[in-house]
Symmetry: none
């Protein structure tokens, strides 16, 4: 059968059109993260996405709307994926934590998403709406992932009793901080150390720190 060139062409065009918003969002994320919202010119976003200034306005009503799209459309799909994969984890709580931390860095730390925490921190005061969204839809969901594992560890006797909400924050802080640091001051840090090593040290120390206290005694 002869392929219908017309419908084919339209399909290709539409595929291109459908991809545009994502390309623009990706460009915007890069620049917003690097230069901040106010410091980013839409002309640069357009150039980086390979379109003209006017084209941005076919897909986003304003610079603010583009910011909103960056926050919402970048993060939710990734987050859902992480949650799904975490659900399939198996093993002791300590092993689960290790996997989650490594996985988190694979997915968030080393992709474009890495910049989002920095961006939200920098622009929170200027975009209260988005800040609230980010805390509730991203941070809180991540906290729940970690909290579930800690709780499981406590139930299984691997970890000592602790205030979960505090522990989760302490556990996550170095992770998020690593992402922030990578996209901000790391390039100016001469003795920048390896992130994986840093994460490993953190996790190792943290696990020792929350280990159930000497099961030997209990048995004694």
């Amino acid at each position: 059968m002869i392929p219908d060139s017309d419908s084919d062409g339209r399909r290709r065009r539409q595929r291109r059109k459908a991809a545009r918003p994502q390309e623009i969002i990706a460009s915007a994320l890069e620049l917003f993260v690097d230069r901040g919202f106010a410091g980013t010119k839409l002309e640069d976003v357009a150039r980086r996405a390979g379109v003209s200034k006017g084209t941005l306005y076919l897909y986003f009503e304003s610079k603010e709307a583009l910011f909103q799209a960056v926050v919402q459309e970048m993060v939710l799909p990734e987050l859902a994926r992480v949650e799904q994969e975490v659900r399939e984890f198996d093993g002791s709580a300590a092993v689960l934590l290790q996997r989650l931390v490594n996985h988190w860095w694979d997915v968030v730390g080393e992709t474009r998403l890495c910049g989002l925490p920095k961006l939200m921190i920098a622009e929170a005061a200027n975009f209260p709406e988005q800040a609230r969204f980010y805390v509730e839809q991203v941070i809180d969901r991540a906290r729940r992932l970690f909290a579930a594992i800690l709780e499981k560890g406590i139930r299984q006797g691997e970890f000592r009793e602790m205030e979960l909400s505090v522990a989760v924050r302490v556990l996550m802080a170095p992770l998020v901080f690593a992402a922030i640091w990578e996209r901000s001051l790391a390039p100016f840090d001469k003795e920048c150390c390896d992130v994986r090593e840093y994460l490993e040290f953190h996790l190792d120390t943290f696990l020792r720190g929350i280990a159930a206290e000497t099961p030997v005694k209990r048995n004694g």
Copy 2:
């Protein structure tokens, strides 16, 4: 001697004049932290400092120069003070760490300086010069303070052997992160927990995590 009322007035005015740059810098810090560099209008800085727009230019050549002054003149005096006080600390390494962490939060966490980390992270890419300065003159000096204590603890047999540069980063990350968080997303976090409690948990866990291994006791 008859007090020269005129010279008195002049002195008061000069005192005020001498304070001007500091008032401007303080205003600028607040706004830069809140809104970012590009998002801050000099008119707002001026209004907050109680001077006119033109007056800013009597003290600072440009907006960039004001940013530089904010970074350099806010931080160095405070930092020197912290270092001095730390030198006078005494006790076990664990106790010293505890004191430093608490002291750090007293001085940095709960004053206007609290915003500086957030500001530098947000503007690093736009101000490489200042970013380098901040990493070298602030971050690195703080690292040295913490490293010295960790090293002392290892020497004294309180802490196990560890890679210092990594350990220091892990130890500091939650501290710096707390400061950043307070000035950014904390207002949007419903379950915001108490910082002191968070710091205490972190330090406690960390100290357990790096405690020298004392198998003897377990067996005893």
Copy 3:
């Protein structure tokens, strides 16, 4: 003969195609009148005409060309029709005037043409070419219609002697003004009075005002 369905379809399409320019012109007139030339977006013209933006350019070279078409193609056919009908009028000059005024409002006042005077007045300075065309081809022709009747009335002794060019302007001013008002400020006029009543009063007063002075006859 077997009806050629294909040629039939083509004919229908061509009929539709032939109507396109008129539909576009009608849409443009409405919007130009409402919002002015610069205030009208071609996208809105297209939407109102039920075509796409690009289609406009198949029929009109530019926005300016469309304006020109609006002025020229709307008015000439109508005007010719009015002139033809006036030629068929019969009766005393006063009756003719009455018929012309009413006819004028039937044709111009209560159709889409009503907006044209307002449009030309608003855009005259921006479109000198069209303004000249409008004055010469529309206004002047209308003046000639009225002038002919006035002249006839004078010849027949119905009206007193007068400067025709002035009288025609005074006679027409309230007519044109009514059309302008209807399409502009009338919606904001709470005590908007009935146009027919207004026209009747005008004509009645005007006819009394130019009546030949024959007090003798009245008394006779």
Copy 4:
């Protein structure tokens, strides 16, 4: 006494500053009348007022706000002046009308205010708020002036009974139309007649048309 040059200088500056808005409004009126609101560039308004683009925004929040100021601040002072002068008129109703018409053309027809009717007619649909203001605060007030005189004439037996609201509209239409015409199509009208002559003819005809019908008395 030596004049205080400083206070003098300030006074001169302030006088200049106080005059700025009026200069800008006058420039804007001219251009809005000529080219319409959307067709007028703020840069041209600024150039004509002898200031820079940015200066406009020291005095007017937006282009819309400037339009509003043009409508409101141009017309009210002039209108009040006319009303005051009319109150001082004296004589028969016919004479008063004559004075008012001539006065109206002196003040409105031959000054910059002349353009306002055209502007309002052109922009009514785009500025409903201003349109309503104009009808209520300008048109209606003018109608009341004319209505009062007609009523007086009727009471005094000079004019026949008539529906005042209609009569006033018919009386005013040629006046307003003259102003509109002058600022729009007149430059393209080859046989443009003298306005004073036109007004005189209108008034003369109108007065004859509304004269009380008492031919008997004249002869009696």
